[in-house]
Subunit: 429 residues, 4 copies
């Protein structure tokens, strides 16, 4: 079994965080799964991911004060493993866990994923709960000096055999439920520790080993970013995707910044190994955060985002509530000319970038195809004259392109003249 086979192409799906924060429940997950099966599955979207604190019974009840309630009311089994909150996920009762919900997704032809925090629950350590399959307790494998800087639920797990046993039993339980995707948080970057003290480095490996032992193809996604570029081998060795940015939201500064991040990581995109630009804040977001809103991105910005994500071959995880998608939102997510670039065989590279504009080019050598895009990174309408010799190895007298978003056809000499709105893009195949 080779972890790179779990995700030959970048995973695509939906994640509950951008809309629900910590509060999503079973009914809501199912509604999104239904929508995906009906509208998005045929374009390649398949993962339904339940994000952070699905084990919390009181999630969201002190939102004015805490995003994550310290010493809160969390659901765990007798081995210190978090299980779903029964009030939020009724089908999980009586030890069923997420199996019914995973089955639901599988029956729709989809895959099912969950979020976990690195480590073992602090409460399990305080209560000295046994570690499954060992004669030690959580207190013995929890590292009381390894905590998360922003979430109070866990302690890091020590790099010992019994620590591996904990992760093995945890991931096996999730595999038994039918989980296909695990997004592990507080493990890719930590603002709290200097490198050598961050136990997340060995815990990444422990998680990978635990997944291998299950024999189940579980995609491993690491969060939050920004990932450390000098650790690229380590991420790639153990995980399928890792965040190259802190949380991405619908702000132009963050989107513009992503061009720099993609430039830095472009050579690290490989089958099974995907630097991750984070969720797509398309449509309606923010409800769980107390401010339900339409994405602050206008359509030029949404097209810029999708073009960059697809060319770079980032995973595509939709952040907006699916059932509230408009046709316009949907059209951004399902542009087939773009989604084509997510397939195996395509490889992209930045051609140029300065503060005003960027050019990316994606090639499929087997198909002898090239797609390129020009992004207007400035805040004004701009005219560009692109020398096609900087993009194509052998020059032609006349080029014929299809512009991917407008679906219009263009004929050009060596100099391609373009007008692009602020924050907008034109992409040509």
């Amino acid at each position: 079994m080779n972890k790179n086979d779990f995700a030959i192409t970048p995973p695509m799906g939906w994640n509950s965080y951008d809309y629900y924060d910590t509060t999503v429940n079973e009914e809501q997950v199912k509604a999104n799964a239904d929508y995906m099966a009906k509208h998005l599955k045929k374009f390649g979207y398949e993962y339904i991911v339940v994000d952070i604190e699905w084990y919390s019974n009181d999630a969201g009840t002190k939102r004015y004060e805490h995003q994550y309630i310290p010493f809160g009311d969390d659901e765990m089994d007798e081995y210190g493993r978090f299980i779903p909150s029964p009030s939020r996920f009724p089908s999980s009762k009586n030890g069923a866990g997420f199996k019914p919900l995973a089955d639901y997704c599988h029956n729709l032809g989809l895959k099912f994923g969950i979020h976990i925090m690195r480590g073992i629950p602090r409460a399990a350590a305080e209560r000295h709960l046994p570690v499954f399959g060992t004669n030690v307790t959580a207190a013995d494998i929890a590292d009381p000096g390894s905590i998360c800087g922003w979430n109070p639920d866990m302690y890091g797990v020590r790099n010992v055999i019994e620590g591996q046993a904990y992760y093995d039993s945890l991931i096996q339980m999730y595999a038994d439920w039918g989980v296909d995707f695990i997004k592990c948080d507080d493990i890719c970057d930590s603002w709290m520790y200097r490198d050598e003290h961050f136990s997340g480095w060995h815990e990444t490996r422990m998680l990978h080993e635990a997944i291998m032992k299950t024999g189940r193809n579980i995609v491993l996604s690491l969060s939050p970013g920004p990932a450390h570029i000098d650790k690229a081998f380590h991420y790639c060795d153990n995980a399928n995707m890792w965040r190259i940015t802190d949380d991405f939201w619908d702000k132009w500064e963050l989107l513009k910044n992503m061009f720099w991040r993609c430039e830095m990581w472009q050579d690290h995109v490989k089958a099974g190994c995907f630097p991750d630009c984070d969720m797509l804040p398309v449509g309606t977001v923010g409800a769980g955060f107390g401010e339900e809103r339409l994405s602050n991105f206008n359509y030029d910005e949404l097209m810029t985002m999708m073009t960059l994500w697809c060319m770079f071959r980032s995973p595509l995880m939709i952040g907006g509530e699916l059932t509230k998608m408009t046709d316009g939102d949907l059209s951004v997510l399902i542009n087939e000319d773009l989604l084509e670039l997510m397939k195996d065989g395509w490889k992209a590279a930045q051609v140029y970038r300065d503060d005003r504009y960027a050019i990316w080019k994606s090639q499929n050598k087997a198909l002898e195809k090239t797609v390129f895009a020009v992004f207007n990174l400035s805040d004004e309408y701009k005219e560009f004259e692109i020398d096609l010799n900087t993009i194509f190895d052998d020059s032609k007298e006349i080029y014929h392109f299809k512009e991917i978003w407008s679906k219009s056809y263009v004929e050009s000499g060596q100099i391609l003249k373009l007008t692009i709105p602020p924050h907008g893009v034109k992409a040509f195949k």
Copy 2:
């Protein structure tokens, strides 16, 4: 009440750590108190300080693995306040706390001190124990993101009214017991946090306020070091002493290094405000650490240490087990010519320092007295020629000095010629 009146001169006493680590018990404390009353009190030593984890029932039982046992068996009252382990301190049973032991010391004419960790017990937060005098619980005031990098017992306390109430109730209980000295740990320097995130800054102030409210003169000592020189005002504003070094032990490198630290802090020594060079590893130390030993310092080094500490006016806390002191050890600790310099009115300054030697000078302007010392910081016997014009403002033809350690008398012209053994000192009055 002014905190600077609690410690007009640098506190002097004994601390259990260097010999007992976490394990000292009542009988041992009393034996040291008896010794102090008999042999050291008349020289100014008066504090008997019980160091770290006197609340731990299992302290020292996993010493090969943990100095501080995570999720260990700690004794606390119903308000989440640590109380003495009854097996180790039998007189503390039935709610007596340290009052009987404090009384014992007071009856000997001594003062009694304890060590505390910054914060509130993690176990109190997990158990949602009530905070005395409030309607909230430990879970509400504990900051789950504020931990100690090396001890697993506590969470930092949030900067809220109920947090102050916790500290008030804690310090009031200790005042009621008769505590005269509190050494708070994990509060002076933290290797874990970048400055702005370290909750110890506000907790220092909370402790000071809690002490003021008791109306009892409780000396506040901050640990560990190195203290941040740019925070000197903050330490001085709230505490009586603060460590300017990480743990000091019987290694020459650490002692040599202290000259640099004293150089840096010399202008900050004031009544009620004492930069602290840490305990004196004199005599027998290390038992609780599994290696009972005589101090690695030879007598030249011990004299150098005492001379620097006394001239600089560091607090003097003896680290060795008192009942095992030899006459030689004792003679180092009770040199009256040196201890004179600890009194109010003396002020010292470094005259010169390089890698080979240092000169310090202490003056009492009211008494028109000057004491100076020449330290050989090199590893060899060295001859020095000291130009006394660099030390005394008005020159004389002939100087007459008493060398403080040998108690010999010296006559010198402007150039004082000295031979000093490696790591040794000559001090003149």
Copy 3:
């Protein structure tokens, strides 16, 4: 000779920089000296200091592009020592140097100072000019890897005997001219080098030694800041004053910030050793910078500045053009109740500071006098109730004060009630 005797109290005078930048000439210097002798000398102001690049013939001619012209037209003698630009300082011709101008000041009962850059001219090294009194050239003692981050004139001087010879000959020449004050730049802080590589540390000592060798009382002032608090002993050992701030200008943010700097350095103010808050931008400034203007500080801010500088006992170097001072400006500079605090025997300390207000207190124990000031650091009119028990050791029923700026008299109980304008101060004796 003891360098601390050169400046028992903080130096006071005028500096050409704030008004003239690099361009001041002889006539202008004399006009300011005349003014000082007539109006300011009696209050203690005595130094007339010619600031940066008095050796430059083309200073200021490319001001739009360079403050300091690279590879410019600088005047130096055959030993690579800068001498005054003869076109700007006509009396300096024929080898007279600044002697005539220094004499002019001395005849007015004033003292004369100059600015120098750390190091030896780059042009002297390129031209292999001889080092006076040695058989080596500038190329041998210049460290080509030690430059200034913002001024292109010099290379640092290597820590070798011939390097000391260069500094000796330089300072002796200046002593022969009658220079009383040297402000050395690029030597207190450097943004360019990590500590261990900064040759300014040894060059500070070389300058001090060179001054001692002249036998002339030349005050040594180090610039720019912020000085490193952990190097306080080093500054104090070699210099009389050192900047604790980067260039100070007439902006409230910088003035407010100075309270934090003074808090940090207050224990380091000693006879001969003065942490320096930088020039006073009072009156008319900025002409040489291309924007002649009245100080942006209003009178409340000017009074706050003067009160802090005087209580802290910073050197007082007036930055505005003296001949353009209004009576109002002058009144700020010559408040005798405040200037009294600059004398020997006064010692100040911050009592309290937060973001809204600060209290300072200055005491003269011999005279049994106390002065205190309350500063409104906020942007609004504020009422304050000051508990006088936090300021005075022994409380009275009734206190009588003179408010220093309004010269009004106040009677108060334990709680002193005050209204202070934004950025303003009330100071009481």
Copy 4:
């Protein structure tokens, strides 16, 4: 013209530095060229590179004191462009420059390269020499705040049109001489500047543009390292190779460390873009440094080095004096099984690395070939059992390999058993 076509495969050749330091002369260069043409050319080695300070007439004359003599006797033309020292390179006289020596190499079927320092000579700026093709002087384009931390020859060039003109004229002159390879120093990493202040970033681009303008295929090599991994796009955009390490020498620690560096950079190896492990200290080195010696590497270490460099596809620049090569040294340099991996189409990746051993694998997908190597990074003889399933995608019952260094043939089941000497390697095709 596309810079990536200049170096489809990693450049291979000889560089004068490791043996000659700054002192190589024409005769010596020719002798090495002769040797290369005769013994190494057929294996792909083709570049003869004259390293640092070929323009210095007094290079090496103060070696006990300076590697690079400050303000030394350097040869430059009237436009401030360095030209060869005529005493060292007689054929360069009368304006011929390196053309005769380049011709000599070309006639042998080899290519000719030189080292340059980033920037413009400091002496040119001091002398205000004109910039070719402009009406400004060196003083106008030199940035006096941009120097090299270890070599005193140059100032950085400002990012202005006339600065580009300087680089254009410099590179055009070198192109006219027939230079095929430029190693620019002080441009890849600088220990002196924080990133944003380092003028090397724009000077890299200026050099690239200057090369493009010549129309000549000049390979651009950047030094010193370690290159910044987050700047990979920038290096790749402008240069053909860049050092990923500080100077590499014949010390095991440096060689072991290179495994970590190659791990980090492995995804950035592309046609025209080669992360560079630095010169190969094989044979006799060090003469110019005052200690002529045989490489400290034993043959196991040399084979390890060559195997890593070839698999990683680092440029191969021989550091030892060619005319002193033994047959043994030569055999390390010309192993054809290994050199095969330098060709286009091969791509390598680390399979595993810990402190004891590493596995690398190189694949040529078109040829369906795989080569792998096992490196013993420990200091002892070790037996290894390598699971071939971790290396090959589809498993076989029996594998047949040729071990590349011993040229022996091996038959293995799924577990390959090996014994490898300390610091040694076995490589299999």
